[in-house]
Symmetry: C2
Subunit: 362 residues, 2 copies
DNA sequence: ATGTAGTGTGAGACCGGTCTCAGTTCGGAG
DNA sequence: CTCCGAACTGAGACCGGTCTCACACTACAT
């Protein structure tokens, strides 16, 4: 504890008080801007603070007030543009309300998510925005709720958890997009999502632990069933997300099947990107050989030839909404948990075509 | 201060100590893992902590140790994939070393950068990684250095500031890329960068306050001069970055000039994207009508037709390097400021062609 | 003159941790 | 059997803030 002797020791209220020749309490009142202080003393303290270049220690402040002015965000992967923009939007909104943001990456791993949450709670964040990696394993989230710390689930609802949610109409969006493909004449459809599963085949919805993806597959299957397509489950492809290589291999396998799909709905822009590149590599043409629709209006989807039709998610608005909901809670709002569903928008571009088989028969 | 009466008051060492029937000091020793404690007492305290679900208050810990275990990052814009990956890489490395990350966005505004720095210093981050928005206005950074808080400049060196730097060989990369364009036969070259300037014309290098961009333009001009191209300065286009609309307008103006450039070097993937879309909108073809090279290997550049040749920057490595440099400093390393220059790599794709004029004359 | 309300100030407790220091206990050496 | 040091424990100061409380002083009504 040689801190007090170092010449680089940060300046404290006590230092300022000494220089302004007032008590620590008075200096603190000026610096913290709370109690009543006479004009003359206030000026003297402010002058001393400036002269000493005083920087309040927010940590000490937090420890005594119990509020940190910080919100924690746990996302699956910041590298993913979807989350990148979400983070941007959340942090913009947070700053606007005088909050800061601590960021943690779960890499879509529950264990990492738990660890991140632990650290954030340790840092006494005032509230949390989380994209839960696994809806089967939510004890740690339940703990957060129980401890009364405001929590907003982002993009992925969890049933039976009394937390606010900001998400999109995933099921409807997937249903509608699938319908468009079916209406174009497709009967062999595939839904591709990033998910580690062993074996990597779809065996049932209980396998799906990312709630948004589950909803989307629900919608996909419902549309297929409504159109009388049999065994559409076989079109659900769980490409891994552990390594890019694994995912690429899954996509390759899908495209080189004996009866490959004639239309694909991609669960996110990253898988769609893999699919697009794999197709390019084997000179398959969109939409002639294969129709492609992806969730999320990623930058690249608008500049390919042809451009890709997408389900646009209002990410920026989702982030803003989530942050605002959270901050309202932090400020003491006590309404029951709300569930905000934002509408997606289908952007028609050039990646949906008529399947070859249809062209032959018509 | 009704905190102590609330049933949701967080558990403290004192609570644990009471339950384990030991002194606060002993409980703290077990929980903090520092002093000598007998095996029996240790177990008792751990049991009590678990029963009470004790979560250490990191803030209080930081206030008494003087270390926060947190590093602050200030980037220009997280939405930009370049920074997105940088943040990812920095936070991965930080976590690997047991540090957390607080993120702040400057939006490329010095004032916001100053404010962010103030907050981060207030939160007593152990170190900072900053991409300075303006190399003319660095007093706040100088203050950081003076206060002995470790600081690493990311991507943008600042002369005369005794801080570590991780950057790329911007000047050389721009020089080499420009040379390629010149060798392909181009004589009317443009360099487009995002920068607000009034009027939006290049009048000299003193106008350039983002050091990396300045280095690149240096390289661009040097290559032009070496090839005997006259007044290459006229090709430097400062498209705004305040609003997307402004930037788009600048690009439009550039393309519809009486003597438009036959080759463009784009300073980042966002301007390149604007250029690509503007060209698409007016049915200009790459590389027949215009050759295009961009800094940064953004996702979209590899899937356009034709794909865009780029100067690939090793962002992930830069982030890792920056974080490691910083953490070494935090851990007490005292070497003089280092300047790490990472090499870029030119990725040849299909966007460089022979200018029309050349084709006619040959 | 007294009451009384209000303003400004300082002393010191407090937040939840860390850490110093002064015992206490115990074992083994002399 | 005493002495010494090591191992353990508790009391309490400390970190840098906030905040309560008591007190001094003024101003104004009674």
């Amino acid at each position: 504890m040689d801190r007090k002797t170092s010449p680089f020791r940060p300046v404290t209220v006590a230092d300022v008080a000494r220089r302004a020749e007032v008590s620590k309490a008075t200096a603190a009142r000026v610096l913290g801007g709370y109690g009543p202080v006479s004009e003359e003393v206030k000026l003297r303290v402010q002058a001393a603070a400036k002269a000493l270049d005083y920087r309040p220690n927010e940590l000490a402040r937090s420890v005594s007030t119990g509020k940190s002015g910080t919100i924690g965000i746990v996302v699956g992967d910041i590298e993913n543009a979807f989350f990148g923009i979400a983070v941007r939007s959340i942090s913009d909104t947070a700053h606007r309300h005088g909050f800061n943001v601590i960021l943690a990456n779960s890499g879509e791993e529950v264990e990492a998510e738990k660890a991140a949450l632990k650290v954030l709670v340790g840092k006494r964040v005032d509230g949390l925005i989380v994209t839960p990696a696994d809806n089967r394993n939510v004890a740690h989230l339940r703990d957060i709720v129980r401890s009364r710390r405001p929590l907003v689930l982002f993009d992925r609802p969890i049933d039976g958890l009394a937390a606010d949610v900001v998400a999109t109409d995933d099921r409807d969006a997937a249903f509608a997009a699938t319908m468009r493909l079916i209406e174009a004449g497709h009967r062999r459809l595939a839904y591709v999502t990033a998910l580690n599963a062993e074996p990597p085949v779809f065996t049932g919805p209980e396998q799906l632990y990312t709630s948004s993806v589950k909803a989307r597959i629900d919608g996909f299957l419902a549309a297929c069933h409504a159109a009388g397509i049999e065994a559409p489950e076989r079109g659900v492809c769980l490409a891994g997300n552990a390594t890019a290589g694994l995912q690429r291999a899954s996509v390759e396998r899908l495209l080189s099947a004996v009866e490959p799909p004639t239309a694909i709905l991609a669960s996110d822009s990253l898988v769609a990107f893999e699919i697009f590149k794999a197709m390019q590599a084997r000179s398959l043409r969109i939409p002639d050989d294969l129709s492609l629709v992806s969730f999320y209006d990623a930058e690249w989807t608008s500049v390919t030839t042809p451009p890709i039709s997408v389900i646009d998610q209002p990410v920026y608005d989702m982030g803003t909404q989530a942050a605002e909901l959270l901050i309202a809670r932090i400020n003491g709002e006590t309404l029951p948990a709300r569930h905000c569903v934002l509408p997606t928008r289908f952007i028609e571009r050039g990646s949906i075509g008529v399947p070859r088989s249809m062209m032959a028969t018509t």
